[in-house]
Amino acid sequence: MIESLVKGLLIAAPFAVVAVFWIMAVRERRLAGNPGARGFFQHNGVPIGIFLLLAVGFWAVVMIVLPQLYMVDYSFHPKLPPKDYGGPKDHYTLENYHYFIFGSTTERDALNTTHLRAFFLTIVCSIVVTFVNFCICYPLAYYMAQAAPASRVRLLMLLLIVPFWVNEILRAFAFRIIFGTSGILNNVLMALGVVAEPIDFLGLDVGLYTGLSYAYLLMMMFPLYNAIESLDRNQIEAARDLGAPWWHIHLNVVMPHAKPGIASGCTMVFMLSAGALAAPQILGGPSSLWFTPIVYDRFYQAFNWPQGSAYAFILLLTCVLFVMAVMRVFKVSLGEITR
């Protein structure tokens, strides 16, 4: 019964989304107020308008909403062999979420410390990575957007972008070569006599943080650059002329202006770090247990897709809530971020 209901819903959903877009288009036209303003279809023409509605509707529904909904639905089911799907053993249950907290499906045991610890560590480390990334990118973005001559900006852009043509996994392994116990960095340090014994950078998670920060550098860089670039240089000079020291100008003139860009960059880096898979697996020390590899293992080691779905859903929900909360604190609206 429920199964057919869900299937009906899934078929109806795309049409519902198209209808919603249609209503929004009509509403936009009415809200425009002045009679000269053109509506969605007048603006784009009917064929392109229909294409946009269908394409965006398809993308939003089939590529994003449906798979996620499937995962959510999955997470509330027990692990079953395929033949039992929809059979008498198939029922809605919270056992996957229960397992995340208590490490068992039935009794209320002690807490599932391994997974919980990895989960919270992932969140905290992602915050740290985001912060580090911001500290690296902000001065560079400011320099490129306000101080550097145009030719140097182009060169810097190129230097920033080109390394990202290299495969992510390859980049992660390259960091292993640098940070390994017999890696380049340790060799240099020992040759210089700075340290006697090699430092276990990977074990100390230095490699992990560096790798993660580096992996999402551009995600921070571009929103920051765009936001700072749109600031009128005269405002910086005006503040300076009124006697403000440089840090005061950044804190009270540049950063407030760039707030949407900062929020956008930080959100992206945080979300991507929390969901990163390759870098933690390759660069993570033995003591660090990132949450995403656990999710991965639920799917491919334990073959427990419902549980993996539950874990992934928990991570997604936590990240979204966290980001929303932070945005609330800093008084940034979702609309500003997308600007």
Binding site: E237, R240, G243, V253
Partner: protein, 357 residues
């Protein structure tokens, strides 16, 4: 403390380009001083040098006798009002005005008192809580002035702040600026390409062209006794008639021109044979016959009726028409288009200047 601003042989170069060449002048404490010149003449460069955003390539800038080299804009006793005002859009009116005080660590209570006083000065009392984008153009202008005055600068620098306003408001703001300057007794250094602004507001004007200060003087001097052909044609309307000096005596010179022999004052002491130009202002020209060396004849090309007066355009010796202003009193008959008219002038109102070598 005196806050004279001195430029001592200031030269400013950008790579191979010399923006300002050998500028030397002294602006008195409490003066309303204007730099007047066409765009690209280097006047903004001078302003940015005084405010500290640029360092002179050669020469010295002194404020109150103190050499300003190496002192950044945040530590100079100057405040700059930008062409686009550069108000902080994310701050309220009061926060904008109080910004400089906040930077200086002035306690909140005193800051509020000062900001309120300034809001009164610019007639925006009770509007301190407004956002910048809620203000009209003239109000923004006044907020920018108040923000600059809040830090009690010795010198206020204004970079064409009125250029974005419409004509009526611009004329109103001229008077307002002048009134504010009289009230606060701060040195105002004003940059403009609009000679009307410079003439109405300033105590003294420096006329600039191509990086060089051509003349410094009060409005009347610059208008009546231009020192160079550039000043004569840039400040106010003027009719240049080129020729060659035929004779000079008693401070007067007679020029051989395509329109006949014409005389004028000879402030440069030119002597016979030199190439020169005689400048006569449209309002100095009169219709009808006059003295021998102050009369010429020319064809009327067009007439522009402007209500209180008419402009008569006569065919000049070069491409540019000679313009003549006729008032509306009954005695003056405006000639017809195509007629040949006699025109005369008072030789004391004409000035002969050497052509640029």
């Amino acid at each position: 403390m005196s806050a004279d601003v001195e430029l001592d042989r200031v030269t400013i170069r950008f790579g191979p380009f010399t923006a300002v060449r050998g500028a030397t002048l002294r602006i008195q404490d409490g003066e309303f001083f204007s730099f007047l010149g066409p765009s690209g003449c280097g006047k903004t460069t001078i302003l940015r040098t005084i405010s500290g955003f640029l360092e002179p390539s050669e020469g010295t800038v002194r404020i109150g006798g103190r050499d300003m080299r190496g002192i950044g804009p945040n530590r100079r006793p100057t405040a700059l009002i930008f062409q686009n005002l550069a108000l902080f859009p994310l701050m309220s009116v009061a926060e904008n005005i109080g910004y400089g005080l906040r930077v200086r660590g002035v306690p909140a209570a005193e800051r509020k008192r000062k900001v309120d006083a300034l809001l009164n000065l610019i007639a925006l009392a009770d509007q301190g809580g407004k956002r910048i984008n809620e203000l009209s153009g003239g109000q923004k202008q006044r907020v920018a002035i108040a923000r600059a005055l809040a830090v009690e600068p010795d010198v206020l620098l204004l970079d064409e702040p009125l250029s974005a306003l419409d004509l009526k408001l611009r004329q109103h703001m001229r008077n307002e600026l002048r009134a504010i300057q009289r009230r606060v007794h701060t040195t105002f250094i004003y940059i403009t390409h609009d000679q009307g602004e410079a003439l109405t507001m300033s105590d003294r004007i420096a006329v600039m062209n191509a990086g060089v200060i051509e003349q410094v003087g009060d409005g009347r001097t610059v208008y009546d006794n231009p020192a160079t052909p550039f000043v004569a044609s840039f400040v106010g309307e003027n009719n240049p008639i080129p020729g060659q000096v035929a004779g000079a005596a008693n401070g007067m010179a007679v020029l051989e021109t395509p329109l006949g022999r014409l005389a004028g004052r000879n402030p440069g002491g030119l002597s016979a044979g030199q190439a020169a130009t005689v400048f006569v202002r449209p309002e100095a020209l009169r219709l009808g016959e006059g003295a021998a060396e102050a009369t010429f004849r020319a064809t009327v090309r067009a007439i522009a009726f402007e209500g209180n007066l008419s402009h008569v355009y006569l065919k000049g010796p070069a491409e540019k028409d000679i313009v003549l202003t006729v008032g509306r009193d009954a005695s003056s008959r405006v000639p017809q288009q195509g007629e040949t008219a006699s025109v005369h002038f008072d030789t004391r109102a004409a000035v002969v200047l050497a052509a640029r070598p």
